[in-house]
Symmetry: C2
Subunit: 430 residues, 2 copies
């Protein structure tokens, strides 16, 4: 992609409403644009990051047997009345409104009330279970305050997986599988997530949250530095400085954290509400056990931006970066520089790597370097009269700041070393 | 994909609210499920078709320089007040509602009011033009009636492209490019679309609609059987039986049709409303010229379902089919049939083709054949005791009904003949 053609450039001055670090950085770097509080447009670079996160989530959900569907965001009142959530939490959380014929709707902020009757239509007997379905979709919440950028939006991207089982043992076994799949998602996105015991609602004593440590987090957690056992302050039975009650070894630390995912066993809360039963081997109706599992890709993106940055800008992990390489041509009177830069851009694109090529003729090296730091693509390649004198380019690692000169003839080998065959920045096999 | 594992099976009896052929077929075949009038869930097979259509649209938009972004569906009142559309068409078309702090919102039913101020932020001078941006997103319309399945939804998928130019010549040149790109989209989806002259709104005399002939269409068009010149009845200056005014040769035919896309030159209607100007080479502010281009992927899917079917079910074009092959194992006491079917399923998956494998043990040949016809995957492969006696399988083409026996050893060659290298069912190079 040529920078001169790219829609959504770096922005010098951003609105002071952007009271969060992630929104400020993502706006300055040209990844998102705030339409109104808690509501963002994803510009081309931002949409690439969001889509790479969604792809990782999708792969991990598919790997544990999740089947992707797409439920509507526009939902009728009736199923919410059945569960009781039309009135509680009601308008505090749900955007509710009327359409033609006085028909009442709410925007989906979660989908238990939609997925439960849907799955009920297709499940009659024990032979039809388990069912694991998920969707990746924008959800809507009538937030009273929305000043945390992508961390708390009024419209936000969500992956919600729902599982249905014939008994609690089946639910628990699948719950443990998703626990691991969630870890995989966060690890692949560059996030070191703690599994944190949290409040479980009506039908379970506890749920599990995935929390990432950062001072800008809205939650307070207590965690053990040795065994990583952790509790949300809301339900914590331990406090900072305690000996860890689990491993009896580490010390408990209090910290701020961002919740990036959560998993629940709702058990029969919704299946009972919708009278969803299955027929067992003996012909008897039995309750269906349900689990719910959420990850917000946009919140994950905001969290990565909060954590992977420095004073100069963003520092994307390679696995979800908008591009692999940021190629900078330093303007020269010698036409050979442009020729070589263009040829190099073409050659790099041929390898399957994604390249942002700063081909601006009216900007100097300083501004180009500053923009590259702000945008935060993992590897920067500089080509200039000076590097070409040595038949080389300079490669800089955004994360470590290390630079090295690489001969043009050796560049292919060097990049293969960084990116492997597929250029995705991940170690696994596609 | 194994049919026993698939979420969303064929359905015998469907609700009589489904007053359209597309909704009835897609529901019976397990592709969609109606949540409420005009609002559908996409089940796994349906989501595959929808995503393949979106991918074709995306490729064609990228090919004409469109850059993908993602704007919010939740939009504030203010930009709609500026254009005047908050009040007209207002609530007739837009879902409008309040959130916390008496803030008023509308759900996006089109995005001129959102994209124009967004692009304005990034365009200062003639050097920043043209800009072509698009998104693929669910839109919402407060339809009074929604009984046409995927053809007229209250929530529906939309690709909307917007282009911004320094002058009318630039707009017209790009408009002609999109005209061709739209043809490519419909052709690749198996649709024979007419470009139909239609009403242009305030700033243009005409717009161009893409219409596909079918009796269930909501529009009436007049077209020339020879040169394909066509006009929507709303603006038509010709009538059925006339000599064609363009080619002077063909005869004009009146027919029902479905609108699957439309393109407009809005020119300065929205750019003026948002005071969006650019600075030309002489330092003078100039008006920005705008074009808008829409295709509804969900409506395209509904249209294909309306056209590609027979009394037994759907007949998907290969390019957007949910799978390439429907493998049917006919139950046998001879365990060799299951063994060979499983081995064949594995081998087919290895080729990169998408296979739906009907592995049900409790269903006979008749029911499996009927479900295969209903689901409408282009090629059906039957493996049974009888075909294996001849070391063969039977291949049936869903569109033509032709069957032939193919030796297992020749199957690879046979499939390569149908699908080529990539298995996508299209002729082009990926």
């Amino acid at each position: 992609m040529r920078y001169t053609q790219l829609f959504g450039k770096t922005v010098k001055n951003v609105s002071s409403d952007l009271e969060s670090r992630n929104a400020e950085l993502l706006t300055k770097a040209g990844f998102v644009d705030q339409l109104t509080a808690g509501v963002y447009t994803y510009l081309p670079l931002g949409l690439r990051v969001l889509n790479r996160i969604k792809d990782i989530v999708r792969e991990e959900m598919d790997a544990i047997g999740g089947q992707e569907i797409l439920m509507p965001a526009l939902t009728p009142k009736e199923p919410w009345k059945i569960s009781g959530r039309w009135d509680d939490p009601g308008r505090e959380v749900m955007f509710q409104f009327e359409g033609h014929g006085d028909k009442e709707y709410a925007l989906g902020w979660t989908h238990e009330e939609i997925v439960t009757p849907l799955v009920k239509k297709f499940v009659k007997s024990y032979k039809d279970l388990p069912v694991m379905v998920y969707q990746i979709q924008d959800k809507f919440r009538n937030e009273a305050r929305a000043k945390a950028g992508l961390l708390r939006g009024r419209e936000f991207s969500m992956k919600d997986l729902y599982s249905f089982h014939r008994d609690e043992a089946g639910l628990v076994a699948y719950y443990e599988k998703t626990k691991q799949a969630y870890f995989n998602v966060f690890k692949r996105c560059g996030l070191d997530a703690f599994i944190v015991r949290a409040s479980g609602g009506t039908f379970s004593k506890y749920s599990d949250e995935y929390q990432v440590l950062t001072d800008s987090g809205e939650d307070t957690i207590f965690y053990c530095s040795a065994c990583r056992y952790a509790e949300n302050k809301e339900v914590a039975e331990m406090k900072g400085g305690d000996k860890c009650p689990k491993c009896k070894d580490g010390t408990i630390i209090e910290a701020r954290a961002i919740e990036v995912g959560n998993i629940f066993m709702n058990k029969t809360k919704y299946t009972d509400a919708f009278d969803f039963k299955y027929i067992d081997e003996t012909g008897k109706p039995q309750p269906v056990m349900m689990g719910c599992y959420g990850i917000g890709p946009s919140r994950v993106m905001g969290t990565i931006a909060e954590i992977y940055n420095d004073a100069n800008g963003l520092k994307w992990p390679a696995s979800i970066a908008p591009c692999d390489l940021h190629l900078i041509e330093i303007k020269s009177k010698d036409e050979k520089v442009r020729e070589q830069a263009t040829a190099l851009y073409g050659a790099l694109m041929q390898t399957g790597l994604e390249v942002l090529y700063d081909d601006r003729e009216d900007k100097g090296a300083g501004e180009k370097f500053a923009d590259a730091d702000l945008i935060g693509i993992p590897k920067r390649i500089v080509i200039s009269e000076k590097t070409l004198k040595d038949e080389s380019v300079e490669i800089k690692d955004r994360a470590t700041g290390e630079t090295k000169m690489v001969k043009l003839v050796d560049l292919g080998k060097e990049l293969e070393h960084y990116f492997g065959g597929c250029g995705c920045g991940e170690e696994h096999q596609h």
